[in-house]
Amino acid sequence: MRRIVLAAVIALSIAGAAGAVQPDEILDDPVLEERARALSKTLRCLVCRNQSIDDSDADLARDLRLLVRERLVAGDTDAQAMEFIVDRYGEFVLLKPTRSGANLVLWVAGPAMLVAALLGGFVYTRRRAAAKAPPPLSAEERKELTEILGD
């Protein structure tokens, strides 16, 4: 039963995605609204599964959207508005993790792996280029080959 409830909760949080921003939330100033939308796309709806507040229909997402707009109307820069929200909700709210501390590993892992792989690939191809060609087929292998091809 508990599992069913859990499944229902998850399902609800997805279903809640039916288009998020409500007409009454939209700011009159199109420049501010544009900034609010851009910020909303990088903020997580905390009660949903991996959704931004821009995509979610949940009440909490609506509250956060209104909060973002409130801050922007009050004259905050984008960075100040984000800081305001992270201070209250923690870094869990950020869909794009910061580069601070251990998170640096996350950001560096891909490029580092690419450099390592490129080096490895280059060394491998260089070695292949320098390798000696294999000896020609032995009489036995040649016989087997004609057998297969002639069949």
Partner: protein
């Protein structure tokens, strides 16, 4: 009675799978033909037993047998027949059984079509496949038994999640599983080859069709899922970098890499050890995906901790198979020495680069998906890795891949000269830059994604066309055209696959860069204009459905005073779950989709209405279909059929030719 027989069949299948693992493996080591020959009938028996169990479960769903716990929890008598059937895999137990059914199907196919394999390799492949079957049948029997009865059956079931009551999502899991599980064949071949100690061109040729099939099913499965998200979730998003999506995307990337490296093994006997490793990892990612989806570990660490039986079981399977295979690889890889010689600029090297980009891209997705877990466990930081991270960290790899693809596809084997390979490509490069520039000037001041995407797409698409034309060789226009119709299917497959990739890139870039959105309150009868279209909210009314009630809106779309479509978006509330879902209405077009959604009634009267104009949206999935078609063409190439044909001839060596 049927249910009990099915339960018994599953137990029997489990025992058969164990037998299929042990006896042929020992037989192959001792070169005992009788022991080895156990593998094929065992694989077929296993398939029929699991098939019977699956049919029995389907029967229980169709007849609404609520004495079964799964049926009671996931079905309802009012549900349309289609969703009673697809509801079989719309729950944990049923979907794991489907997984096992497809696994045994692949095992049976390997038994039927494996006639041309050397006897020991065939026995070992089927033995490894049997061991995977045993592990997952154990998982079904011990943690996820679909045939558990209820002591007090309810009068009616709790219904299927309304979101799953949709044709797009109904067929999404079977395709995805065909892909996931198809990779188990590549894995079995890799492990069998490591035990044999031999990987040669023939091995590459045997592995490739299985990988191709798996990749092609994954492509279709992912495309279906993304298309479903597009039309069902109500705002036209098509990819969310959700852990569950990433779980299917990682095997796709790795299998795409494997597909290309297996060519190098087949044609040039190089990259052998790397290909074996990729084959192991590809299935590892598949199982990882199954683990992510089935254990709930990424939804919340706590959800996992309170009911860890299933997650731990899959993790154990993953650990045993990956640990075992990788240990075997470490011990044996050194004997898989390459003999081929090729220069740094050659098709071989281009395919190495392809593999590097695809594999590292898969690694980035993997790292991003797992990072929240790692951060919470080891650094005590609760954080999220969402779409913005993946867009920033993943996209560069695809851009690099797109830039290099047409050049790599034209490089000759062994030794190439870059300037010479580029010569036929210059027109494509010039055209691509021109397209990018043109798009840039037209769109003025919007995201650079549009021009870059358009340029890359033109580059890949033209590159594929030039590739095709080059394949027709020298001679006059007529002879080239005649040769075009006789090209090997594998060549056509490559060109379709690459061309489709270009189409998808363009669709994604166009959708992200040029979508137009309009959110407003509209009164009934009101007309408003979005991106050159006049939209009228003609009527809103309440209508009953088979197992839901709906608010239906009539919306007329007009352009220059002429009505081009009447769209009927709905907002449904399902009777059993009381859950609301949005059914967007879409006017599909080649150049754009018009996407309308009806929202809630507003306090001051009128309705919340959302309108989106999504340029080239359908190109995303059209590209995926073209890619899958390429896979199909390649799969039907003559050389795979010839190999099968020669095997049947070889099996009757004493026959006297007719002539």
């Amino acid at each position: 009675m049927l249910t009990e027989s099915a339960q018994f069949a599953l137990i029997l299948a489990f025992l058969v799978a164990i037998m299929q693992t042990v006896i042929p493996m020992i037989g192959a080591a001792r070169r005992n033909p009788v022991w080895m020959s156990v593998a094929e009938p065992a694989a077929l028996t296993q398939f029929f037993l699991v098939g019977f169990a699956f049919a029995a479960l389907t029967h229980a769903f169709v007849t609404s047998d609520f004495s079964l716990a799964v049926v009671a929890a996931n079905s309802h008598t009012d549900k349309p027949m289609l969703y009673k059937i697809t509801g079989v895999w719309g729950n944990h137990e049923g979907s794991v059984l489907l997984w096992v059914l497809i696994l045994t199907l692949f095992g049976a196919m390997a038994a039927v079509f494996g006639g041309n394999l050397p006897a020991t390799l065939r026995a070992r492949v089927l033995a490894v496949q049997g061991s995977i079957g045993a592990a997952f049948l154990g998982f079904v029997l011990f943690t996820s038994n679909p045939f558990t009865r209820l002591a007090n059956p309810p009068l009616n079931g709790q219904g299927l999640n309304p979101l799953l009551q949709d044709p797009g999502l109904a067929f999404h899991p079977p395709f995805l599983y065909l892909g996931y599980v198809g990779l188990s064949m590549s894995f079995s071949f890799a492990v069998a080859a490591l035990i044999e100690g031999r990987v040669d061109a023939a091995w590459g040729r045997w592995v490739r069709p299985w990988t191709l099939a798996a990749w092609l099913f994954l492509t279709v499965g992912i495309a279906l899922g993304s298309w479903w998200a597009y039309y069902e979730l109500g705002w036209g998003g098509f990819w969310f970098w959700d852990p569950v999506e990433n779980a299917s995307f990682m095997p796709w990337l790795v299998s795409a890499a494997l597909l290309h490296s297996a060519i190098v093994v087949e044609k040039r006997e190089a990259l052998k050890s790397w290909t074996v490793l990729l084959a192991i990892l590809a299935f590892g990612f598949s199982m990882m995906g199954t683990f992510i989806v089935r254990s709930g570990v990424l939804t919340s660490v706590h959800a996992f901790a309170t009911d860890p039986a299933r997650g731990v079981f899959i993790l154990m399977i993953l650990g045993v198979f990956m640990g075992g295979a990788l240990t075997l690889y470490a011990a044996r890889a050194s004997i898989l020495e390459s003999k081929a010689v090729f220069s740094v600029v050659s098709r071989e090297s281009a395919l190495v680069l392809n593999n590097i980009l695809l594999a590292v891209a898969a690694f980035v997705v993997f790292f991003g998906t797992m990072w929240p877990l790692v951060a919470e466990l080891f650094f005590d930081r609760k954080l999220t890795v969402g779409a913005p991270f993946f867009e920033a960290a993943f996209t560069p790899f695809m851009v690099a891949l797109a830039v290099l693809l047409p050049i790599g596809a034209l490089l000759p084997w062994k030794r190439a000269r870059l300037a010479r390979a580029m010569r036929p490509l210059w027109p494509a490069a010039v055209l691509a830059v021109a397209v990018g520039g043109l798009v840039y000037t037209i769109q003025t001041g919007r995201s650079m994604l549009g021009p870059i995407g358009a340029a890359l797409a033109a580059w890949i698409f033209m590159g594929a066309a030039i590739d095709l034309w080059q394949r027709t060789g020298r001679g006059g226009f007529g002879t080239k055209l005649a040769r075009l119709t006789r090209l090997p299917r594998a060549d056509l497959g490559r060109i379709f696959g690459h061309g489709g990739f270009g189409v998808t890139i363009f669709g994604i870039a166009a959708m992200l860069a040029w979508s137009v959105e309009d959110i407003r309150v509209a009164q009934e009868g009101e007309t408003f204009s979005v991106a050159g279209y006049d939209i009228t909210l003609a009527d809103v009314r309440q209508e009953p459905g088979p197992n839901y009630s709906a608010i239906v809106a009539d919306m007329d779309i007009a352009r220059n005073g002429r009505v081009i479509a009447r769209l009927q978006p709905e907002k449904r509330t399902y009777n059993v779950s009381r859950m609301p879902t949005t059914e967007a209405a879409i006017d599909n077009g080649i150049l754009r989709d018009i996407y309308v959604v009806i929202g809630d009634p507003q306090q001051g009267g009128g309705w919340a209405v959302r309108t989106y104009v999504k340029p080239f949206a359908n190109w995303i999935w059209a590209g995926a279909i073209i890619m899958a078609l390429g896979g199909l063409l390649s799969l039907s190439d003559r050389r795979y059929r010839i190999a099968a044909g020669s095997a049947s001839r070889r099996r009757r060596p004493n026959q006297v030719p007719a002539e």
